[in-house]
C-alpha cells in the first residue's frame, strides 16, 4: 500500500441538516480532513443506491451519507427510507467484496458542526487503514463502459 495514501470521500448530505452543519463548520473555520467532497441533495431519502455504487466505481474510497436525526426529517420520513436502503446496501456491497466500513451513515443536525468534523476525521482514518479501493482500475476494460 502506498504510504501517503489520501482517501477520496464522497459525502452526500441533505440540504436541511448535514449540509448546513458542513456550512457551519466552514464559517466557524473548523479544521477537518480535506478528503471530503460534498454533494448536496434535498433529502437523504433522495439518495438512490445507484449514486453510491457509481461513486465507488468511479474512484471513491468511501461514501459518507449525512441526514437529519430520526424524527427531524424536513420531509417527515425521508431519512428512514434512507436508513433502510443503507442497511440493505451494506449487505450488498459486502457481498460484492467491498468492506462495509467504506459506507457510513451519520445523523448530523444543522448545529452539530463539531460532530461533522469528528465523523469526517474518523472516517478518513478508517479509510487510510483500509487502503485504496481503486475499483475502476481493477475492472477489465469491457466492464468500465456504462449504459
Amino acid at each position: 500500500m502506498e504510504k501517503n495514501f489520501e482517501p477520496k470521500i464522497v459525502g452526500i448530505f441533505c440540504n436541511w441538516c448535514t449540509y448546513a452543519a458542513a456550512d457551519l463548520a466552514g464559517v466557524s473555520r473548523m479544521q477537518y480532513a480535506p478528503n471530503l467532497r460534498i454533494v448536496r441533495v434535498m433529502c437523504s431519502g433522495r439518495i438512490h443506491p445507484e449514486f453510491i455504487l457509481w461513486a465507488f466505481k468511479n474512484g471513491a474510497d468511501g461514501v459518507l451519507i449525512g441526514g437529519c436525526h430520526p424524527g427531524d426529517c424536513h420531509y417527515i420520513e425521508g431519512n428512514y427510507k434512507n436508513l433502510r436502503r443503507y442497511l440493505l446496501l451494506k449487505k450488498l456491497i459486502s457481498q460484492f467484496g467491498i468492506e462495509e466500513e467504506r459506507l457510513r451513515l451519520e445523523w448530523i443536525s444543522a448545529s452539530e458542526a463539531d460532530k461533522l468534523v469528528k465523523v469526517v476525521n474518523e472516517f478518513a482514518e478508517t479509510l487510510k487503514k483500509l487502503g485504496p479501493l481503486s475499483l475502476k482500475e481493477k475492472l477489465p476494460e469491457y466492464a468500465k463502459k456504462e449504459v
Binding site: H48, P49, E50, L53, W54, F56, K57, P70, E77, Y80, K81, L83, R84, R85, L87, L88, L89, K91, L92, Q95, F96, G97, I98, L135, K138, L139, P140, Y142, A143, K145, E146, V147
Partner: protein, 326 residues
C-alpha cells in the same frame, strides 16, 4: 422476385430456452419463414462456420444471438457474425444483461473449476486435470479458452437491439421480428418490449391499496399453493420485482403465482437494475427501527446479489465480485 432478406441465429452461454422460444412461435414461425431465409442456425440447420465466412460483409440482414459470452469460441463467432450482419439483436436475458450465467461473476473462475472438476460430489478426477486449450492440445483436440468473466453481448460487440426475457415470450419475439422486417426501424439500442413497468400490465395491480404497500416480513418463495392468486404478491410479503422491471411479458409469472424476478431488466434510464430493485424493496419495509429492519433483512434477503441481480450482474455498475489481491 427479389431475394428474401437473410437472417441468422446463434447461441452462446445459454440454456437453450431461447431456441425453444423461437420454436414457441408455433404456426407464426411460418409467417416469418415466408418472408426470410434462415442462413445459419446451429441448433436446427446444418450450416457451418465456413458458410458464414463465405458470405459478404453485411450480407445478413439480422442476426439473433442468445446467451452470455464466456468462451473464446463464442467471442470469435459473435465478432464474425457482427461483420456479416447489418443488425445484431441480443435475444433473451443472457445476451441482454448476462442472465443467470452472469451470476458466475460472483465467483472466480478458479473456484468454479475447483468445484466442477475436483471437489464436487459426483466428480472422480484423481489426476486433477482441468480443461484448458493447452491440456487439449497435448491430447490432440481443441478446446476454447474459458475467460475470467462472463460478459453480456454488448460488452463484446456492438448491439443494435435487445429482445428481453428469460426466455422471451412468443408475442415479444413475433412483434420484434415484424418490426425489423417492416423496415421502419426504432432508434438504435432500443429494448423491443413495453416502455412501462410490469405493474401496468399486472392483473393484480388493482388490489394495491391507495396508501401504498408496507410489509413487515419478506417471505422467501417456497410454497406456491399458499399464495393468494387474487392479491398483489408484494402485499403478501413476496419480493416481486415488477415495479422496477420492464413490462411486456403479460405478467406470465404472476399469473402462475410466482413473483417477478426481473428477467426483462430495467426501464430506460436506469443504470443499475439491482440498485433500483434494492431501493424500492427497502423503501416498502414497514419499520423505522434499525434493529428491526436488520432482522427483517437478515431473514428475508440472505442473498442480495441473487435476488437483485439474478439476470443482470455483468451489466451492473460493479460488474463482478471484487477479489482481494494476495
Amino acid at each position: 422476385m427479389a431475394e428474401k432478406p437473410k437472417i441468422a441465429l446463434y447461441w452462446c452461454a445459454s440454456c437453450g430456452g431461447c431456441e425453444e422460444a423461437v420454436v414457441d412461435l408455433a404456426e407464426d414461425i411460418l409467417t416469418v419463414v415466408e418472408k426470410v431465409d434462415i442462413v445459419f442456425w446451429p441448433v436446427a440447420l446444418d450450416f457451418k462456420r465456413e458458410d458464414v465466412e463465405k458470405m459478404k460483409d453485411g450480407e445478413i440482414l439480422a442476426t439473433f444471438i442468445n446467451g452470455a459470452v464466456r468462451l473464446s469460441e463464442q467471442e470469435d463467432m459473435v465478432k464474425l457474425l457482427r461483420r456479416k450482419s447489418k443488425l445484431i439483436i441480443a435475444f433473451g436475458a443472457c445476451a441482454h444483461m448476462g442472465g443467470v450465467p452472469g451470476l458466475a461473476n460472483a465467483q472466480t473462475k478458479e473456484k468454479i473449476f475447483e468445484y466442477y472438476y475436483h471437489t464436487g460430489p459426483i466428480v472422480v478426477n484423481p489426476e486433477k486435470n482441468k480443461p484448458s486449450p493447452d491440456f487439449a492440445k497435448n491430447k490432440g483436440f481443441e478446446l476454447p479458452e474459458f475467460y475470467k468473466d462472463v460478459r453480456a453481448l454488448d460488452q463484446v460487440i456492438d448491439v443494435d437491439y435487445y429482445i428481453p426475457g428469460c426466455a422471451p415470450p412468443p408475442n415479444i419475439v413475433k412483434n420484434a421480428v415484424l418490426t425489423l422486417l417492416s423496415g421502419n426501424l426504432p432508434p438504435k439500442g432500443k429494448v423491443l418490449a413495453s416502455d412501462r413497468s410490469l405493474c401496468y400490465d399486472c392483473p393484480l395491480n388493482e388490489t394495491k391499496p391507495d396508501e401504498g404497500i408496507k410489509i413487515k416480513e419478506i417471505k422467501r418463495y417456497y410454497e406456491p399453493e399458499k399464495v393468494d392468486p387474487e392479491k398483489c404478491l408484494l402485499l403478501q410479503g413476496l419480493p416481486c420485482l415488477g415495479p422496477v422491471t420492464r413490462g411486456g411479458c403479460d405478467a406470465l409469472c404472476i399469473k402462475g403465482n410466482m413473483p417477478c424476478t426481473g428477467c426483462f431488466g430495467p426501464l430506460d434510464g436506469v443504470k443499475d437494475y439491482g440498485a433500483a430493485a434494492l431501493s424500492y424493496i427497502a423503501s416498502i419495509i414497514d419499520s423505522n427501527d434499525e434493529k428491526e429492519i436488520n432482522e427483517i433483512l437478515e431473514k428475508g434477503i440472505p442473498d442480495p446479489i441473487g435476488l437483485f441481480y439474478m439476470y443482470s450482474l455483468p451489466k451492473s455498475l460493479l460488474f463482478k465480485k471484487l477479489i482481494k489481491e494476495e
